[in-house]
């Protein structure tokens, strides 16, 4: 999915198009702002669009390279798509629901789903129970640390 087809960097080209559109949007949106608020966005928007255009050309002519960073994002894209989507859906649901449902309940539910997502082989009942207890204890401990020690007002929502 890296988009390298022959010498062309298709994914890089798609990314460049996104940044090109963003740069153009920022540039034209700045025309509606006051002169002082517009000067910097106009400059950066034009720069972003210009750089993205160059990158798009480089991607199409096969002169695009990768990045040095060896983090998670680069490469290895095809593996575990279902798990990846589960992770994304869980994080999105967690972020949207915790103010409504409550931090503790949402976090516990999300962590249990993520725990199941992180299991790659069958585990014994004892080990599974240990994992469940571990996740519950972790959520409870961090909840108490945040709410009682650091005095961060965690949302209690409809449940807890």
């Amino acid at each position: 999915m890296n988009g390298e087809q022959g010498n062309r960097d298709v994914a890089g080209f798609a990314g460049s198009l996104f940044f090109l559109c963003t740069g153009l949007f920022v540039f034209f949106e700045s025309l509606t702002l006051s002169p002082l608020a517009a000067a910097f966005p106009r400059t950066i928007g034009a720069t972003l669009a210009g750089l993205a255009l160059l990158q798009a050309a480089a991607s199409l002519t096969g002169r695009s390279g990768g990045t040095m960073e060896t983090g998670a994002a680069a490469g290895r894209h095809a593996d575990g798509l279902g798990r990846k989507l589960t992770m994304i859906a869980t994080m999105v649901g967690w972020a949207l629901l915790f103010p409504l449902v409550g931090m503790f309940v949402t976090s516990l539910a999300a962590c249990l789903i993520l725990m199941a997502t992180g299991l790659f082989e069958r585990v014994s009942r004892g080990r599974l129970a240990a994992y469940l207890a571990g996740v519950t204890a972790m959520v409870a401990a961090f909840y108490l640390l945040m709410s009682h020690v650091l005095n961060i007002p965690l949302p209690r929502g409809a449940l807890f």
Binding site: S16, G45, M91, V92, W94, M103, Y131
Partner: protein, 510 residues
Amino acid sequence: MAVDIGFILSQALSPFNLLLAVAGVVLGTVIGALPGLSATMAIAVLVPFTFAMEPASGLIMLGAIYTGAIYGGAYAAILVNTPGTPSAIATTFDGYPMAKRGDGDLAITLATLASVFGGLVGAVLLIAFAPLLADIALAFQSSEYFWLAILGLTLIASLSSGNVLKGLIGGAFGLTLSMIGVAVIGGDLRFTFGVPALLGGIDIVAALIGLYCIPVLIDMVARPDRHLEPSPLQRGFRIFEALGICAANLFNLVRSSLIGTLVGILPGAGGSIASLVSYSEARRASRHPERFGTGEAGGVLATESANNATVGGGFIPTLVLGIPGTPPDAVILGALLVQGIRTGPELFSQQSGIVYVFMAGLVIATLLMLPLGLVIGRYAYRFIANTPKAMLVPAVAFMTVVGSFAIHSNPHDVAVMVAIGIFGWLIGLAGYGPSPIVLGLVLGQIAEQGFMRAYMIGGARGNFSGQLLLDRPISLGIFALILITLCVPLVKRLRAGRAAAGGKGGEARP
């Protein structure tokens, strides 16, 4: 100026103050290692407790927390590929590959030694030359800050080896993200799309957590292999091996610590630029620059010595000029004022006793980082390497959510963190790394303020470009560095291309 060293040491080394320093370093290290929990938060939470203490004791504890938190950022960078603080961004470049191949224990020990070395250099320069070095902060004006921010972005772009252009695009996009909300100058609402949550802009820490943690989490659940390779042998702290590497990199350590101190002096620039400049210099000067980014020890030494040197450097404008260099400096400045200490040029003559006790406390806290950091680091590495993914994934995910919520106790920060994280993962597929975007976001306000002030001053003079570029030698110097940073990879690429073409041509000849 007579300073009673005996009195200062007796104050700083009292059992109670030592205990506070130990507690501060441990607390700071643990908090700094947790994404989202920053040094600023730790200091801000504990400041009220220090009001009941003697001024020196309270300040020693705050300094120890700050030092520990900057160091603690390296743990998450090395073990989870997530910089605990922006100043640890460059530590991920080589620290995480080292941990991935089973050298996490060595990387932690190197980070500890480098942090202690850098912290000591920064603290010693603070003690010896604070008033003199404060002049450097005053020498920098608006246009220099703009160019400094651009230098930071071009440096990180040039570090994205193989594709400077993608790095520059990422940096420009980060600057764009920094413009969301109320304009720094002008006060207009920009790019909020009518969403009230975006009025305050995008929080840097939430973006940092999202851009680094979410792709790591997505990658973690995709594959059954271990997150980190555990050390194949029981090799202890690997302290002698690390000391040998430090000895071989002594010049790198000294240079990076000096860069860290000098950049730390500049308010707002701080550890992120310092560690990137040091990393870039270390790579440029290395005999094997191609190893950087693949787990090169010199990279970890450069970034960690530089970012801890910024602690001492950052206190120079804070104490001498009353201008806090970083948010933690601002909180400590507030604590100083509450304790009745007036910062400014007279501080070192009128209240030298307490200031030098504070500085001595900083040195002691830095030294304490060595044993405490080695012990904490060893167990942290073992713990992360041996924790099954079924436990590690929910733990990291929970910390990202709670950490980003804790910044302002605002659910919108969590939504922003998740959205930016997913975006970061998607653009990662297209070969765009997170570091330029984060740095653009970090430096956006500095860049815009510098740019706009120069724009207004230049406009008033009817000479914008002259004001921005040509009026001042420091601006010209930084601009020249930017050009060099951008051109060197290009020239190298051209030469390599020519050499390859020459080789092929040679082969083709009969």
